[in-house]
């Protein structure tokens, strides 16, 4: 506010001085020019009356010639001063309007409002830098969990979009360069309530700057950054950025998982994108050579992963020299049948259209399928607007960088235990994964998937914690019972218990819980609601444990105790 006020005063200096000078001269004139009273005696207007007259004359109210009719001299002076005062007023008011329309001034106002809105957040919030596909999705997802966010983006169009979007919580948004430390400051990077900074701009250098700023101000706060190059990844890691997300590497990793361990991928996909139609290829032959169009960042990430698993591949790229493409790379876009044939599409197992151009990618897939209909098709979708076309193309796997980053980050924020879980899943074999996958799908029974965590702490699950403090045993099974009828189970599977540094995978239901355990569940969404009831309501937990419902109020508690003693 300070800034705006100073700017207003500074700009108004000249107009106000002009008005005062005009008034001063007018008043002086009226007090000097001789007049006449009703009897024709000479009379001089005093300053009081002169000020009175000029005040209503200058504002063009015009009460008339007061207190006595004017002489010719006074009227002549009135003519002069009326024009002078009206012009000076117009000048002053015009300056104010010009100032309100001034883009600098409006930017300042927006910034001031933004600062005030951020300062008025009294609950933990995330600072999101970059409101592209990823930022947009994350803001909506966090909003659905009731978590507040603050958004900065360079592009005013995206900020306008945010204001029009249907978001329940108020999201302060500012159009500014997020790599500017002053901007980060007013966006609350120094605010203790800012629990995480997400650097999602499409400029690696800006992301770097944001991550450094946050780590300098508050080293313990979580920073998640996206990255587009290995150099940035290394740089971000060097000063302790908590999570660095390279969508291409993540996708290459998932793709490999799909090919090598389809059930593990299915479990991952089921939990991370509940709405996503997974690429189900467990029965398809996936061993063989792949044709990859585009040797950019995506192509290179794929190359690395494929090399690790000794999978054959042929690249197609438009620029062999500049990108330093590997031996045997075919020159071309991949949209023509000739190029694809040259790359040996007939005896390949799948094709990956990974160029940065959506139209080309679709064209590649369609051409390739014409040549060989049973190809596994993987396509990269760059723009969110093209979603319907890509859905219609019926490809096996769509790679959307924005969504991959958003899903990863959302998982990190909502249920960080999933990271541990997926890490451990890799150590098991496919049969184990297949069994787990079938168990999960049976439990889900076509409902929407959800994953959640309970911490056995005084705030996370008060009832369980209170039981444990009284040294009463609470088995994991108690949390998986229906609070309305304890003979029924909830549609949920406990996936993991994290106890200190050890993790118990797929814990047995008879396992007793301990304080500070973190338990990861997956299952139907409504199971979570029932479970919340169990962990926080004393009597519900008592009922599940013993089958008896305890008395609620103090009086009834006393009565039941009294009764027990009488017996």
């Amino acid at each position: 506010m300070q800034h705006v006020f100073y700017l207003l005063l500074r700009r108004l200096r000249t107009p106000i001085i002009t008005i005062i000078v005009v008034y001063a001269i007018s008043i002086l004139g009226f007090s000097l020019i001789p007049g006449q009273d009703n009897q024709g005696n000479p009379w001089h207007m005093d300053f009081f009356h002169a000020f009175y007259f000029v005040s209503f004359m200058g504002s063009t109210i015009g009460f008339g010639e007061i207190p006595f009719p004017f002489t010719a001299g006074q009227r002549a002076w009135t003519i002069l001063t009326i024009y002078a005062s009206v012009i000076s007023w117009l000048y002053g008011i015009g300056t104010i309007f010009a100032l309100f329309q001034d883009s600098n001034y409006q930017r300042l106002i927006k910034r001031t409002n933004f600062t005030r809105r951020v300062a008025r957040i009294y609950e933990p919030f995330y600072l999101i830098c970059g409101y592209g596909i990823t930022g947009n999705r994350l803001v909506h997802q966090l909003d659905s969990l009731g978590i507040r966010t603050v958004v900065i983006d360079k592009n005013q169009r995206l900020i306008d979009e945010l204001e029009a979007d249907q978001i329940v919580l108020s999201v302060p948004a500012l159009c500014a360069d997020a790599s500017d430390p002053n901007v980060l400051n007013i966006a609350g990077i120094q605010n203790k309530l800012c629990i995480g900074v997400l650097a999602l701009t499409n400029d690696d250098h800006a992301n770097l700057q944001i991550a450094i700023d946050s780590k300098l101000v508050s080293p313990k706060r979580m920073v998640i950054s996206r990255t587009q190059s290995k150099e940035t990844t290394a740089n971000l890691g060097s000063f302790g950025t908590d999570y660095i997300i390279d969508p291409f590497i993540i996708f290459a990793d998932h793709l490999l998982l799909t090919l090598q361990a389809p059930y593990k991928h299915l479990i991952h996909d089921l939990i991370v994108n509940p709405h996503h139609r997974a690429l189900a290829v467990p029965d398809q032959n996936t061993t063989g050579r792949w044709v990859i169009c585009g040797y950019g960042r995506f192509g290179q990430a794929l190359e690395e992963e494929f090399r690790k698993h000794a999978i054959e591949m042929t690249f197609i790229d438009v620029d062999l020299e500049q990108r330093n493409a590997p031996e045997g790379t075919i020159l071309g876009l991949g949209t023509e049948a000739d190029t694809l044939r040259e790359a040996g599409i007939e005896n390949a197992v799948g094709i990956i259209a990974g160029t940065p151009d959506d139209a080309n990618n679709l064209s590649i897939i369609i051409t390739a399928r014409d040549i060989k209909p049973d190809l596994i098709t993987v396509v990269r979708q760059n723009s969110g607007a093209n979603k319907p076309i890509f859905r219609a193309a019926d490809v096996n796997m769509i790679m959307e960088p924005g969504h991959i980053i958003a899903n990863e980050i959302f998982m990190l924020i909502r249920t960080p235990l999933l990271i541990d879980f997926f890490g451990l899943v890799r150590e098991y074999d496919e049969d184990w994964a297949r069994a787990l996958f079938l168990r999960i799908t049976n439990t889900l029974n076509d409902e929407l998937m959800s994953a959640w965590t309970f911490s056995i702490t005084a705030t996370g699950s008060p009832a369980v914690f209170a039981f444990l403090e009284r040294r009463e045993e609470v088995k994991l099974a108690y949390l998986c019972r229906d609070p309305r009828d304890r003979e029924q189970s909830l549609a949920t599977i406990p996936l993991l218990i994290k106890r200190g540094n050890t993790c118990i995978m797929l814990p047995d239901l008879t396992i007793p819980l301990q304080p500070d355990d973190q338990v990861l569940f997956c299952g139907q969404k409504k199971a979570k609601t029932f479970m919340e009831w169990i962990v926080s309501n004393h009597n519900t937990l008592r009922y599940i444990k013993t089958g008896k419902e305890g008395p609620d109020g103090s009086l009834w508690r006393w009565l039941s105790k009294y009764k027990e003693q009488r017996q």
């Binding site: 005063l9 700009r11 200096r13 002086l28």
Partner: protein, 126 residues
């Protein structure tokens, strides 16, 4: 040389001198105190105040405050004058004494402004 500073110095010193001129004379003698001089002092003092609008330096803010005090004192004096001449009271020696003492207060404030201005000028080494 900063023309903004020069113009401001002109107005602040002029406000002081006019104020002093009005103040000079027997405190209760209307003949010793000219109404035009008071008028000029008020106008110049208000202009000096507005010139400090939007000044974000510390000295600038204090100068704004002191010249604002001078405005208030002088305007109060002018109101007393207007009341005295336009009612039955008349410009008695008692009224004149209040007007002049109010302007003496303004004189002190203007004097403070000038001292601050001098200090600021000395501090600037170029």
């Amino acid at each position: 040389m900063n023309s903004e500073k020069v113009v401001f110095a002109f107005f602040i010193v002029l406000a002081l001198t006019l104020n002093f001129g009005f103040f000079l004379g027997d405190i209760d003698n209307p003949n010793h105190h000219n109404v035009y001089e008071l008028y000029a002092a008020i106008v110049v003092s208000i202009i000096a105040t507005i010139m400090k609008f939007g000044d974000r330096t510390h000295v600038g803010a204090v100068l704004l405050a002191t010249s604002f005090v001078a405005d208030l004192q002088l305007v109060a004096g002018a109101i007393v004058w207007a009341v005295a001449t336009n009612t039955d009271i008349g410009l008695s020696s008692h009224m004149m004494a209040s007007i002049v003492s109010l302007s003496a207060g303004a004189l002190l404030a203007n004097f403070t402004s000038v001292i601050l201005l001098i200090l600021e000028t000395i501090m600037v080494r170029h």
